[in-house]
Structures are given as structure tokens and as C-alpha cells.
């Protein structure tokens, strides 16, 4: 532990060191704050950094330790969260001009729980505007750069969180995943990211993009780290009507369970001819590692996979168009100047406040719900969604988990796909189905491309079976040790 720099420790190591009084929360926090100061200007992972508040919190956590008080498993550990979670008194922007100075009147449930577990909040992290994107290039604060290669994107929409974790500027983060926005950036940044089952983590205070698809989840450098963060934020919340009242099992323990006898499904639709060779090779390695530990590979089919992207790009924009309608310049956020009447005020506010991708999706969504088109688009998509869920239900009768690549390629270059929305949307083909079905998914690093870019394997599980995913991902992690902190010093 002495020769590994603090910022490269795992969260569990850091938490134990604080509890054992081997290091103070202040030391941990100071170390990360100075690292953020040095390298964040280069990668732009943080939107807001909270040096004074973080040190105050660290001090308070240290005082508690001195008195023998441990709030929870994250006590004294500095973490950060995607700027989509409301933090009272701390501006929350969704990386959008329209919320640039928004000061929430309340804390999100996720924020309350992180704090209740004793964590120190370092700041709010950059993201694609309103979580709409796969590269974190649509942020009004400028793009985030991948610490593994700064001419590359980190993935999105939780690109800031994944990059910050991979750059060693926080011990873990909490992101959100609507079509892959935790898993895909985790894969591209060489870290672990998990989207829990829909309803596992409260959405109260998580600014909504697509309500039936959004879930908050951990991004961390190891599977056990991700497990402990998940345990802190998961659980029933009465303020979220879609929150499910099921007890939170011991996720950390699950990571040690092993995979003997586990049936691992391999959907043929996710392993195709023209696939990126390095991605295929890396995921194959993940499979062989599981088999070597006693798991069994089973070929399966998820026949409607090809329709998932279309289904998603109707449902998500439709819900988003309604969720984002509240940004009208009346009660909060940006308001356009000099409008002559109410309609002009609202229309110019939104045209000036939203970026291009957000506007595109609001337009698609409004169109898909509009009179005459509802049945053909939204109505149809909801039916196809049922077929996609059925595919998974049938598969999970035969297997325990499903293994796929997380992303079709390693990180692509900045600006490479911004001009063609459809090409960008295709980055999410492997991750989107899980959101539509509401099932949990995790991405764990399993290889590197010849260019030295991380590649992740995705595991999908049954509803509320995060434990199997954690067990399998942890097994892969133990068999394929990979560097988790990018060699980036700014």
C-alpha cells in the first residue's frame, strides 16, 4: 500500500485505511483535490469542484472517526457524482446552458445516501447534455477527454464520471444509464460501471431524461468498489413511485461468490461477422476465464435485438420531450432576453438554452407522440419493447447471466461521429436492450486494443439479480488483471 500512490488505491482500501486510522479523510481528500486541480483542466471531467466544502466534510468525518463513529462503508472516502443529481446549494446543470446556474432546493436521494454512508463529495461531473449522448461531446462545458488517450472520447453520457475515476481523481462516482450511459463509458475508460435493475436505485432528484429507462449506478475501479457504492445507494424510496421495495442483499459478499455452475448465455446477435476484432478477442478472453472457473457457455438467441435501437430512439426521445418541457424559462434556469410575449420567451429560451442533440431528440419525441403518429411510433415501440423483454425472459429460463461486448469499438476520436447522429446512436447497440427490458448490466474491463485503449465485457442479468453479475464480473476481474488508472499525468 505504501508504494501505490493514494489516488490509485481502491475505494475499499481507502475506506479501510480511514477506519483503521492509517490515513485521514483530509489526507485522502487533499490528495485528490490537488490531483483534480492539476489534471482536470486537461480532461474536463469535473464541472464543479468543491474544495472548501469537501475539506470541511473530510474534517467532520475525521472527527467522527476519532470519536469512534463510522457512518457507513464510505466513511471519509472522497467520491463525486454526475451533474445530473440535484445537490442542494450546489449548482446542478446537466451540462446544459438552460440550467447553468440552477441551485436545487433539495438533495437527490442518491446524494442523501452517499452522504449517509459517510462519503465526502468532491464535486459534480461533466456529462452529455441532459444525458443525451454517447461521447460526452454535447456538454455546454466542452467535451471530456479520455485519460487513456486525450484525442479520444471517454464515452457518454457519464463520460465525466468514468474519466474522473479512470484518471484517479475520485475513488468512485455515481452516474446514470438510460441506453448505456454508465456501461459504455466505463468500457471505454477501462473501469467498472453498473446499471442496476430498473427500480433498484431511487430516481428522486435524478434529473429525468427518459423516465422508464433511467437508472443511477456506480462507476468505480474494481467490482467490489462498485458493489459497495451500489449497496450505499440502492433500496426502496417512497418518493419514487417506480422504486421497488425489495431488500438490498450483500453486494460486496456476492463479488466473492465465484461462478461454478453458472450458465453464461452468448447471444448470437451480439457476436457478428464484421465486429471489431480486438473487441471480439477481449470478450472471448472474458468468456474463457469464466469457463476456466467452472462456468458453462450456452449459445442463445435474442431475436429482436436488431430492433432495439429503433425502439429506444422512439421511447427515450418521447419521454424526454415531455420531461424537458418544464425548462420554459418561467421558474428556474435560463430565460432569453427581450422577448415580446410569452410564447416567444419560451421558444427562444429553449432554442438558445438547449444544444443541438437535445433539440433533435425533443423534436423526434414530440413528433412520435403527436396526433396521427402516436400509434405508428410510440405505440408501436412500446409493443416491440414487450417483444424484447420476452426475448430476455426466455433466455433467462436457460441461463443465469448473458455475456456480450459492452461497446462495438474502443474509444473513437473526438469529433468523429458528431455530424451523424445515427452513427453516434449505433455506439449503444449492445447496451440499449437492457434498459428497455429493465434488467441489470455491468461492464468490466477485459482487454486492451492494439492502440492501448480499454475494452470492456458486458454481463446482463435477471431482474434484481445484481449478485450474479457482481460474482461473474469479479471473477473476470481476478482472472484478467488490468491497469485501472490511466497513465495520465496531465
Amino acid at each position: 500500500m505504501a508504494d501505490i500512490p493514494v489516488h490509485e488505491w481502491t475505494l475499499l482500501t481507502a475506506a479501510k485505511a480511514v477506519r483503521d486510522k492509517k490515513i485521514s479523510s483530509r489526507e485522502l481528500t487533499r490528495a485528490l483535490l490537488s490531483r483534480i486541480e492539476r489534471i482536470n483542466p486537461k480532461i474536463n471531467a469535473y464541472v464543479t469542484v468543491l474544495p472548501e466544502a469537501a475539506m470541511r466534510e473530510a474534517e467532520a468525518r475525521d472527527e467522527e472517526i476519532a470519536r469512534g463513529i463510522v457512518r457507513g462503508p464510505l466513511h471519509g472516502v472522497p467520491v463525486a457524482i454526475k451533474d445530473i443529481f440535484c445537490t442542494k446549494g450546489i449548482r446542478t446543470t446537466c451540462a446544459s446552458r438552460i440550467l447553468k446556474d440552477f441551485d436545487p432546493p433539495y438533495d437527490a436521494t442518491v446524494v442523501e445516501r452517499i452522504r449517509a454512508a459517510g462519503a465526502v463529495l468532491l464535486g459534480k461531473q461533466n456529462m452529455d447534455e441532459f444525458a443525451m449522448g454517447s461521447s460526452t461531446e454535447t456538454s455546454c462545458f466542452g467535451p471530456v477527454l479520455n485519460p487513456w488517450a486525450t484525442d479520444r472520447i471517454p464515452g457518454g453520457s457519464s463520460g465525466g464520471t468514468a474519466a474522473a475515476v479512470a484518471a484517479g481523481t475520485c475513488f468512485a462516482g455515481v452516474g446514470t444509464d438510460t441506453g448505456g450511459s454508465i456501461r459504455q463509458p466505463a468500457s471505454l475508460c477501462g473501469v467498472v460501471g453498473m446499471k442496476p435493475t430498473y427500480g433498484r436505485v431511487s430516481r428522486y432528484g435524478m434529473i429525468a431524461f427518459a423516465s422508464s429507462l433511467d437508472q443511477g449506478g456506480p462507476i468505480a475501479r474494481t467490482v467490489p468498489d462498485a458493489a459497495v457504492v451500489l449497496a450505499a445507494i440502492a433500496g426502496y424510496d417512497r418518493r419514487d413511485s417506480t422504486s421497488v421495495d425489495i431488500p438490498v442483499p450483500d453486494y460486496v459478499a456476492a463479488t466473492g461468490r465465484g461462478v461454478k455452475g453458472m450458465r453464461v448465455g452468448l447471444p448470437r446477435e451480439y457476436f457478428t461477422e464484421g465486429q471489431d476484432a480486438s473487441v471480439k478477442a477481449a470478450v472471448t478472453k472474458a468468456l474463457t476465464s469464466l469457463i476456466s472457473l467452472g462456468a458453462e457457455g450456452v449459445e442463445i438467441s435474442l431475436p429482436h435485438t436488431g430492433y432495439a435501437l429503433s425502439t429506444y430512439y422512439i421511447i427515450a426521445p418521447a419521454e424526454a420531450s415531455s420531461n424537458l418541457a418544464r425548462y420554459d424559462g418561467v421558474r428556474y434556469g435560463y430565460r432569453a432576453d427581450g422577448a415580446k410575449g410569452l410564447i416567444e420567451m419560451m421558444s427562444r429560451t429553449r432554442a438558445e438554452g438547449f444544444g443541438e442533440e437535445v433539440k433533435r431528440r425533443v423534436m423526434i419525441g414530440t413528433y412520435a407522440l403527436s396526433a396521427g403518429y402516436y400509434d405508428a411510433y410510440y405505440g408501436k415501440a412500446q409493443k416491440v419493447r414487450t417483444l424484447l423483454r420476452r426475448d430476455f425472459n426466455e433466455a433467462f429460463a436457460r441461463v443465469d447471466v448473458i455475456l456480450t461486448p459492452t461497446a462495438p469499438t474502443p474509444a473513437f476520436r473526438l469529433g468523429e461521429k458528431v455530424d451523424d447522429p445515427l452513427t453516434m446512436y449505433l455506439s449503444d447497440i449492445y447496451t440499449i436492450p437492457a434498459n428497455l427490458a429493465g434488467i441489470p448490466g455491468i461492464s468490466v474491463p477485459c482487454g486492451m486494443s492494439p492502440d492501448g485503449l480499454p475494452i470492456g465485457a458486458q454481463l446482463l442479468g435477471k431482474h434484481f439479480d445484481e449478485e450474479s453479475l457482481l460474482a461473474a464480473a469479479a471473477a473476470i476481474e481476478r482472472e484478467i488483471p488490468l491497469r485501472r488508472v490511466a497513465p495520465f499525468e496531465g
Partner: protein, 96 residues
């Protein structure tokens, strides 16, 4: 069945997004591509399929009819772009 510029402007008005004719044309092209791709769903027969309106299969939970005042009115008003006393102030609706 391409989307027309009129439809784009109509949708933009429904969504309260100001849009110049040039912007509408660019948007039209992009939406057209996306919608063309999305229409692949027409190939699927979904005649007897029940739509998934909700990701979770249970009834909506209830809360008791008891009052818990928020009690921080200023927090609700503090982000107002324009305000008069405790009201939110907005431009009048003018007849088109």
C-alpha cells in the same frame, strides 16, 4: 413518407423551439434520416402484443393524505429568472 418542412415547423412550435427556416431545413434532413431508420419497426408484426407502458409490473404505490409543508418558500423562488414579490413573473401572452 419523408417529413416535410411544414411538419418540422409545426412540431417545433408544439415543442416551443424557435427555429429559422434554415435551421428547420437542417433539422428536417436529420430527422428524416433518423425516422427512416426507425421505421424498420414497421416490418415487425405486433398485432396481439400488449404494449409495455411501465417497466415495473405492480400497482402505483399510495401515500397517506397527510400534510407535510415544505416550509422553504424562498428555496422554491430563488431560481426565478424574474419575480415580483412571491410571484413568478412572465411576459403576457400577446395575440398573434
Amino acid at each position: 413518407m419523408a417529413i416535410t418542412r411544414e411538419e418540422v415547423l409545426h412540431v417545433a412550435r408544439l415543442a416551443r423551439l424557435s427555429m429559422s427556416p434554415a435551421e428547420a431545413d437542417k433539422m428536417r434532413e436529420q430527422l428524416d434520416n433518423i425516422l427512416a431508420y426507425i421505421r424498420q419497426l414497421d416490418r415487425l408484426d405486433t398485432t396481439d402484443v400488449v404494449p409495455t407502458s411501465h417497466a415495473v409490473e405492480m400497482g402505483t404505490p399510495f401515500r397517506d393524505d397527510s400534510v407535510h409543508p415544505f416550509e422553504e418558500k424562498e428555496e422554491i423562488l430563488k431560481n426565478a429568472p424574474d419575480r415580483e414579490g412571491d410571484f413568478f413573473r412572465v411576459p403576457r401572452i400577446i395575440e398573434d
